[in-house]
């Protein structure tokens, strides 16, 4: 793997981690709020959930392609 690719993947991982953290912080904030916030903050919660899912599945796609010891990749 070239240095550029490695740095790009590291940057993407850092980005995914930041997006995940932001999503989870928002989710925890909504969860800790009053039941009324379940309604009023639903769009924040939806956006935060999407952030978490995209960052996790993004990381999975980004780092699951290499199969050590072979050149085989997941399509």
């Amino acid at each position: 793997m070239s240095l550029v690719n490695r740095n790009l993947r590291r940057s993407l991982l850092a980005f995914c981690t930041a997006v995940y953290a932001a999503g989870m912080i928002t989710i925890i904030e909504v969860a800790r709020g009053s039941p009324l916030r379940v309604i009023t903050d639903v769009k924040y919660a939806l956006a935060a959930y999407c952030c978490v899912v995209i960052s996790c599945i993004g990381s999975m796609l980004l780092f699951s392609r290499r199969v050590a010891g072979s050149s085989e990749t997941i399509s």
């Binding site: 009053s34 009324l36 309604i39 919660a45 997941i74």
Partner: protein, 554 residues
Amino acid sequence: MNRFSMSLGVTLGIIIGDLPLTARASNGQIAGHGSIALSMFAVIVFITIAVSFWAARHVRSAHDFYTAGSRISGLQNGLAISGDFMSASTFLGVVGLVFAGNGEAVIYIASPILGLALLLLYVAEPLRNLGQYTVTQVISLRFEGRAIRVFGALSTLTVTLFYLIAQMVGAAALLQILVGIPNSAAVVLVAGLMMLYVLLGGMLATTWVQIIKAVLLVGCVLLLSAIALGHVGFDLSRLYELASHQILATQGASGGSSALASPFSALSLGVAMSFGMAGLPHLLIRFFTVPNAVEARRSVLTAAFIIAGVFLLMVFVLAYAAIAFVQNRPELLDAKGHLQGGANMAVIHLAGVLGGEVLLGVVAAVTFATILAVVAGLTMAGAGALANDLYVQVLRGGSVGDTAQVRSFRIATVLVTAAAIAFGIVFEGQSIAYMVSLAFTVAASANFPVLILAIYWKGLTRRGVLMGGWVGLIGSVLLIVAGPAIWVGVLGHPQPLFPYAYPALASMPLAFLTAWMVSRFDPRYADPAAQRTFAELSRRAQEHRPASIPTPVH
């Protein structure tokens, strides 16, 4: 019951927890819809039993029995993993949580996605390449000895049994509510079916029951979501607006308070759900059913897409549709003004409101299929630990033939079923929600640290893994007992010894720390022979190779 207990009950009901409470509150009130539900149940039972008989014809060896011959594809295994994870109470409980005004639902649905990422990136491939039938075998490849096997088996059994008991009691409550059959009969019915699947077809039957359930559940959630959104012109904002009006009418502008007011509890719940998922034995053994590491990874990705999508629709469409269309309907309320069957029945009522008794029957039957699939997977994990780790490896020293292995597994299945029936009846209406939290917390505190350290840390010693594992196992159980849920809520003490209901944020790091410290000060730390074993296993864990039976490197 105070507000905290009620909130906690509903929160943990995401797995299946407070169903018995709702069953007691309103037993039989939904049972009027029983005839259609019952016929749908019969169809589900017929299909799943037919699958088990079909699978029985394809099972010829212990390898077939334990792992479906490692011939399940990544896509099939992904469906089975999602079927294994999304229990009936995930379906009922997640919607019920939001319906009851608990924002924790979003933690419950978001945290497992991280668990799936951990599984894919760190666990799936090494587990597939190193393991054969049980998770304990992977640890035993590096550290020989009966003590490791005993710890692994007991840890697996603890997690599995608590989860299984909760599912059994919840299943019985659901059947009581939906078709009006008594608790003990419902427990025996569910246990009998799960035993039949596992005894006849082993992992192959279990896998296909889980696949059928996953397809049904996804179809059911998509159908309900489409109908619900159709009622608001596919305008999500309109749905939220309707829900907002309903909740303001019910709760007023003050809105009450959350059970997760403490940041520690909220984080701890997230930790338990994320790392616990990566330590649940019934999910981990699914990686032995695929032919290679690539398929193992593909299966996690498939499961992640399905689980994330279904959870999204459950919480952000169905739950709000339930608030908008079910809440405050006089015909659905009991004498006290509460929803019949409690908040967990919100999605069932939603099906009735949106599609009449036929859709209600379909949704109830899918929920029943969900229960069957999950308990079958749990039985596989529990019986595997009992038969393979305890009987074959500890008691018989591994010198057991193929036929005897299958026989011991079948006997273990009967024992696990008997325990599930006994506990399912004994624990009727009890605080089973805490057992589920125990299952996730123990999985995060004992199974996950031991597995991850055994695979990735070359400094780990046998003493370290045992001490870390036992501290995680016993520590997590003790902290739950000392917490407000049991110490105050059940045992009646005025103050809890441990102030938080979810202890994983304390018990999991404690297990890691103990394993590290004990290993670091162990005289066998950096032992050359142990280092060679680790290097060989690391090489084997990363190797891309087809299904085969691993041999110890010692």
